[in-house]
Subunit: 543 residues, 2 copies
């Protein structure tokens, strides 16, 4: 499936890269490409290592995965078609709830409540076989009875009624159906899923789901879901293949006061998948960062193409579940996902400029922190710390997250030394020592922001009576705001070591655009590392 | 320094392990050992790879680190001497505060307040050149003026007065001095540190610090520190080389309601170090788990010997800061620590049965969770999850943390299937699906605890209206307690996906001995993995 990308990636394993050998390599790659083109059954091919001499290139180890089952071509509309349909689905002016109900405890009731209480300003059409009115809205027996166009239909009916209602949506020319119901491929009902896919194609209705919690789009105050309403607005759009992970996103987002522009359930991905979301969010002015949880990619090549383009504009973060063989096995029995070889995902995500989250918490923390940080202009990172011990751990974290601790020029070293006690350590980390008053933090942070050779700051705070946590937090925000007013925008993250008051101080910093964590030296640095990873991939940093 | 351990470890890099080659290897190792013994200047030696044939063994790559500076022998009392002194220091009946003060803001005042307000029941002797009484206690001009013995002296005076006061402590035969003052090796005052070390040796006074926050020993309500008082009792004893990290421990412990038996600052480690603490906590009935942050080990061989013994009885967790070259460089300018080659630390910690934490949060979370979990009797781990998506991520986490997902026997698979819907997935993870009532969680968790072939449970909860978070938490605690009453003790950890109410449910579970985390699939599994790592090292699990 991803042979083209792999062929390019093969060079990585090549021993010997002097110019003489390049011809031999080019020749090998060309032969491999021809092989792969000629035999579509080859789904994976890995040559590693390749020994290249001037007489030719030899692959010492070759792995070929063949698949003799013909692949069904996945439906791929044009980018314009996707944008047009997705804009109506995600930002509908009119919306039908198929299976709307006035009865507490019913999914169709929860959806109605969320739409109304969430503050959605568009028109809601309840669809119900008998009712005349539901929750103050005139009800219709079918979407076909509704006068005027409908942008999206939210399904809250059992699986067995979906096909019929979806056909009616098609006849009504509704461009999108949000299929909350379960009981399709995930329960072994492959036929039922194929049936609705066929209806969707026949009438050109894009399908979200089935087997999902629905979706949230906060700029429109739209909660098209049976879960709790969510209303904290922000610039990150998240999606999840799993409902459980979707609920974790909601809980974390609320708890961490992380604003989101959207939370979307993708479930069985019978039609709409990560690609479609990337295309929509790429052009959505309310979204600045895109984070996705997935168990598989239905069309890896298409994802890679779209992600490569989108990640140049907005950070894309991915938590790929089923990394390990045990995880992949579990994914297969969960959503029927074919998790595939993780090495290939690793390559694809890397080449697409996607930030790969290794854990659910990383996905959530990156989603929260990455969009807040300005894009760094270069690789020079400095650590300013009151706690020498934090400085050591922060340095370790820099290496772990591929951040470059700036080699401190003499004049800058001297400039920092002016502000710190003689027994403090300049260099990098700049250890201002623990007993210092607020002015020392202030002067050194200010210098770090002002000097053009420095591109990013990591702060290590140590709780003392002389500079209490909130004093530190406020002074940092003050200096950063002052510099912003002068046009200086640099990423700043902070690690706070201290008694429980550091939690409030961290929240204050976060609320002012500075990702800050109590009791952790690694998470703030990982967030900064994620921003760098993206910025490098997007070509925004001069090496 | 650690050549012996390295020699044993060298076998790892050896190609070919058939019996014929063993003799050749044994011969090589013997030669290397002799070399290292003959040349004490060799401080590190690494042979990798070694090719062994029946004709002999050849090392293809050899790395030798030599150090021509003669090493000073570090003071190492006998185990009995350590126990005797440390018991008086950590559990003193009488205690002197040198530099006690009635004046707010002074360190000697903070120490007095913490001792008194912390509820310490022993006798406190304030030492002050002029005062007759401080905070209701009779004050003395010198420890030598105090009638009767003193177990420990806490120093709250400037560095320049330490030597004189320490000499008086020696003359008074006080076995321990807690040296809060900074201004020694960490500021370049190597001479000052050597001076107090010499006094300590001359009079046999063990020195904690200098350059520390002091220490807490909660079973005695003892807060011998200038930081805030800490009083949440528990069974983990923590120590840190850095004050900043110590403050992070205090904040996290309070916030997470993690009880501790002790928190100890080691600072410059002029004398008392990780070994001494291990020896004390080994025999301390109030401590069941030992967690240490360090930037270096002053005597790696001694640590390895003690840790190997102690970790057989109680889990030992270590966060070694300065893992990376950048971190090591920072450590060197922070506490003058010689962080050394991390590969050696990795080997030493592994062979000593020490759980290595990779981050500050891991150190803290392992400290909190590991002592709560009963020791698993075997390697069979099962996942019971309401969220299929969590099941996938939990499976990934099991592989990451070297946990073995049990291959489900047919009869057990059938037994689980009885409780779950037909479209749920048995096998492992056992996916009970999201829409299930409390009884489904209850029945499956009960079965997991009852069946003898299962040794540990990982639970994945998905927030629904049918089984709300606190209902889940309470039923799990109920079943676990019921089984405990029957003599069944198995580790159970939980990952909760849902809206913010899962935070309260996680706290409830944790308070009842079940490490539980909201919005994370990886941390609960890492905690269980840490317990397994320890249990395997201690020989408590049959493979």
């Amino acid at each position: 499936m991803l042979d083209g990308i792999q062929a390019a990636e093969m060079l990585k394993g090549v021993r010997g890269s002097d110019p003489v050998n390049r011809d031999a390599l080019a020749d090998l790659i060309e032969k491999v490409s021809r092989l792969v083109t000629d035999f579509p059954e080859i789904s994976e091919m890995d040559l590693n290592p390749v020994f290249a001499t001037k007489d030719g290139a030899i692959a010492a180890d070759v792995r070929i995965v063949v698949d003799f089952q013909p692949h069904e071509q996945r439906y791929r509309p044009s980018q314009d078609e996707i944008v047009k349909a997705m804009n109506r689905i995600m930002k509908p002016e009119t919306l039908a709830v198929i299976g709307a109900s006035a009865e507490d405890g019913k999914i169709g009731n929860s959806v109605m409540k969320n739409l109304i209480n969430g503050g959605y300003k568009g028109t809601i059409y309840p669809i119900h076989p008998k009712a005349d009115e539901i929750m103050g809205r005139k009800a219709y027996k079918s979407v076909k009875d509704v006068p005027g166009p409908i942008d999206v239909a939210v399904f809250a009916i059992p699986a067995k009624f979906v096909a019929q209602a979806l056909t009616e949506c098609g006849e009504k020319q509704i461009p999108g159906a949000v299929l909350i119901p379960s009981g399709f491929a995930e329960t072994g009902n492959e036929e039922g899923q194929k049936e609705i896919q066929a209806i969707g194609r026949k009438y050109n209705v894009r399908l979200m789901g089935p087997n999902i919690y629905g979706f949230y789009y906060t700029p429109a105050n739209l909660c098209a879901t049976f879960c709790t309403a969510y209303d904290v607005k922000g610039t990150t759009a998240l999606s999840s293949q799993s409902g459980g992970i979707g609920m974790a996103i909601i809980g974390f987002s609320r708890s961490a006061k992380m604003g989101v522009s959207a939370i979307v359930g993708l479930g069985n991905k019978s039609d709409i998948d990560e690609d479609d979301l990337l295309v929509f969010f790429e052009q959505d002015p309310n979204t600045q960062c895109i984070a996705q949880h997935c168990e598989d990619l239905k069309d890896g090549r298409s994802f890679a193409e779209v992600a490569k383009r989108v990640s140049k504009k907005k950070p894309v973060i991915m938590l790929k579940a089923g990394r390990t063989s045990a995880g992949a096995k579990a994914a297969s029995s969960h959503t029927g996902a074919l998790a595939g070889n993780d090495k290939i995902y690793e390559d694809v995500l890397k080449q697409s400029g996607v930030i790969r989250a290794r854990s659910l918490r990383d996905l959530l923390e990156f989603s929260r922190g990455v969009p807040l940080l300005p894009t760094p202009k270069g690789e020079n990172v400095i650590i300013i710390t009151g706690a020498g011990g934090s400085g050591v751990l922060l340095s370790d974290a820099c290496v772990d997250n591929k951040l470059k601790l700036m080699a401190m020029p003499d004049d800058l070293d001297k400039a920092f030394r002016k502000f710190i006690p003689p027994f403090g350590a300049a260099g990098n980390p700049i250890d201002i020592t623990g007993g210092e008053p607020p002015t020392t933090y202030k002067n050194t942070v200010k210098l770090g922001l002002e000097d053009e050779r420095i591109h990013s700051l990591i702060l290590g705070y140590w709780h003392t009576i002389i500079t209490p946590p909130m004093v530190f937090a406020k002074l940092v925000v003050e200096v950063v705001e002052e510099m912003k007013a002068k046009g200086i925008h640099k990423p700043v993250v902070a690690s706070l070591a201290g008694d429980v008051q550091v939690e409030e101080a961290s929240e204050y910093l976060y609320a002012h655009g500075i990702p800050a964590y109590p009791y952790s030296t690694e998470i703030p640095v990982a967030v900064l590392g994620a921003k760098y990873l993206w910025a490098r991939g997007a070509g925004l940093i001069k090496e």
